[in-house]
């Protein structure tokens, strides 16, 4: 018999995240004949609202109401899940900050195989589930086989599975709260500190000159700023630039930074990690300039140029200034 499939639902303020619908689609890729069950942990009216909203896309919705789970502390939720999950099941979890916190330890505690950050699920072959992952910062993909005979915990990359249209499964909400009882952990949530606003709001700009590791040093940020000034654009960046303290966190585009919706996005010396791409919305025109022809950014950009940004950008800036000078007459 095929293993039972569960999807862990991440939600906020009474609303399931987009990953809830994506995992429903992912579950069908694992086994179209085994309807998936949503697992939702939380507390109060918000939890009830989330459970209700999932009934269309899941065959069953397991509700775990517990005041200790009002904030999703992965250490507590892991302990709750271990108490309710049947042996040998397959658990799908979104690969974001919560899933990364929860899933590896959950696989140990349920004695299940673990595969993370899955881009595509190709289906079951014998005892194995065949999936696609990415390695080397997106420069190479890999087919991976996972032995699911004793169950599996699989984290799925947000956005990788397209949600199904018009599902109406009408799944029942099943209250599993009593099976969990009290949970406690050696890690306690204190509070969430909201990111500081910063000097420039990159979410408000139609054109972004975005720089990555290829800018090489702090002094070179000025090269990007010159171009941005000439274009009437703002300078944004990818994670390595913030890690190196060359620009403030408020300038970072990505899942752990800002979500931007420009018309034109100039990706300069940016490799194109998925966490960065996750912050670019609204289908902008993406122009990528990178000296590595294998950079993943070229797979998603509209136009690509293989060149050294430290030489290319100043020449581009001069040309823009020249044009502006002409058009001003």
């Amino acid at each position: 018999m095929m293993a039972r499939i569960f999807a862990y639902i991440v939600h906020r303020a009474g609303v399931a995240e987009d990953t809830a619908a994506e995992l429903a689609a992912a579950a069908i890729k694992v086994d179209a004949a085994a309807p998936a069950t949503a697992i939702v942990c939380g507390w109060g009216a918000e939890l009830d609202a989330v459970c209700e909203s999932l009934r269309a896309s899941y065959a069953e919705v397991w509700k775990i109401a517990n005041e200790a789970l009002a904030y999703p502390n992965a250490e507590l939720i892991r302990k709750a899940l271990v108490k309710v999950l049947p042996p040998g099941c397959i658990v799908l979890v979104p690969h974001e900050h919560f899933g990364i916190d929860l899933a590896p330890g959950l696989s140990i505690k349920t004695n299940a195989a673990f595969v993370s950050d899955v881009l595509a699920i190709e289906g079951i072959e014998g005892a194995d589930l065949k999936v696609v992952r990415q390695e080397f910062g997106g420069q190479a993909n890999a087919h991976v086989r996972c032995d699911i005979s004793s169950g599996a915990v699989i984290t799925v990359r947000p956005g990788a599975c397209k949600p199904l249209e018009g599902a109406s499964l009408g799944g029942a909400v099943v209250d599993k709260s009593a099976d969990v009882g009290t949970v406690n952990a050696g890690r306690r949530y204190l509070q969430t500190l909201v990111a500081e606003a910063g000097d420039v709001d990159i979410t408000k700009h139609a054109v972004l000159v975005s720089v990555g590791r290829g800018i090489q040093e702090k002094e070179n940020i000025a090269i990007a700023q010159d171009l941005a000034d000439a274009l009437g654009a703002a300078v944004s960046c990818s994670r390595p630039v913030v890690d190196a303290k060359w620009l403030e966190k408020s300038r970072q585009v990505g899942s752990s930074g800002k979500t931007v919706k420009p018309k034109v996005y100039l990706a300069c010396g940016i490799s194109g990690a998925f966490q960065h791409l996750a912050g670019i919305k609204g289908n902008p025109f993406i122009i990528a300039i990178n000296k590595n022809p294998k950079a993943p950014i070229f797979q998603v950009a509209d136009v690509g140029i293989v060149d050294d940004i430290l030489e290319f950008l100043p020449e581009l800036t001069n040309k823009v200034r020249e044009m502006r000078g002409v058009s001003a007459k």
Binding site: A74, E75, E96, H97, I100, D101, L102, P104, L106, S107, I108, K109, F114, S116, D117, K130, R133, E135, F136, G137, G138, Q139, A140, N141, A142, H143, V144, R145, D147, G186, R187, R188, L190, T192, A195, G232, R239, V242, D243, A244, S255, S256, G257, T259, K263, L266, S271, F285, A288, K294, F298, Q299, D302, V303, G304, I305, V306, F312, E315, V320
Partner: protein, 263 residues
């Protein structure tokens, strides 16, 4: 505070163009530049800073082969007190769970208050820290971007969550934390520093010394196996401008203007 950092030597993706070998079962490794996995280097720096504030020792451990000694020496040149190489033919082909099993055996031979890993390595799996914690029944937190030692028994930590927000937690020791890049500014390591530790002996441990049963690690125990590599095709692919620089700039500006980006 006794701190253990689990580190790994990886092909540096920022320095390499990754190409597949002709068989498609591996990447072309001959010309690759290797370095310490970047988040692991931040983890070592964080360990050194904690030890400087709260006292204690920093040990860096890696599971690998002889070639991996170079990252241990590099981190010792940064200031780590000890480097340890865990190596055994029986460990080859281990999946994440296998690596965590090996590290667990090593941890239990010592007396560590705090265990750090980088958030992820070149395979992007972000798995070993959380697995190790669960095996040890230690609390775990991932994506940690600030650590404050409250007393000898607990830490206050910040996790990087969506939108640049920070999730603040208190966590009991001993615990395992996976460290996010940007948590600190790792110190520079010069050739002189590396030469100074060049002759420091690095102890090695194998399956027998660690008491790891052969059937629990290595390729035979791995439930997760890579079948092959292939070239990704995420999107439709960019239209590549292949003129000279001046032509490319002309064309780029036409496109930017057409998209309303030159007003």
């Amino acid at each position: 505070m006794e701190i253990l950092v689990c580190a790994r030597r990886v092909p540096d993706t920022s320095e390499n163009e990754i190409a597949l070998n002709s068989a498609g079962n591996d990447i072309e490794r001959d010309e690759l530049v290797y370095s310490i996995n970047e988040p692991d280097n931040y983890a070592v720096e964080e360990a050194l800073q904690i030890a400087a504030r709260a006292g204690g020792n920093v040990t860096v451990v890696t599971v690998g082969g002889e070639d991996d000694e170079e990252i241990l020496r590099r981190e010792m040149a940064m200031g780590a007190n000890h480097g340890v190489l865990i190596t055994d033919g029986a460990f080859a082909g281990s999946d994440g769970r296998g690596i965590a099993t090996i590290l667990k055996a090593f941890v239990q031979k010592g007396n560590y208050d705090l265990i750090l890993t980088g958030v992820q390595a070149e395979d992007g799996a972000a798995q070993v820290g959380g697995m190790l914690a669960a095996m040890l029944d230690y609390p775990f937190a991932s994506l940690v971007n600030a650590i404050e030692v409250l007393d000898g028994k607990k830490l206050k930590i910040s996790r990087e969550i969506e939108g640049g927000n920070k999730e603040m937690n208190e966590i009991d020791l001993p615990c395992v934390l996976s460290i996010q890049t940007g948590i600190n500014e790792p110190r520079y390591v010069g050739m002189r520093g590396i030469r100074a530790v060049a002759s420091v002996p690095i102890p090695t441990y194998g399956a027998v010394e660690l008491g790891v049963a052969a059937g629990t690690v290595g390729e035979a125990a791995a439930k997760v196996k890579r079948v092959d590599y292939f070239v990704p095709t995420l999107g439709r692919g960019a239209e590549m401008l292949e003129g000279d620089r001046e032509e490319n700039i002309e064309k780029l500006l036409q496109l930017v203007a057409a998209k309303g980006g030159l007003k």
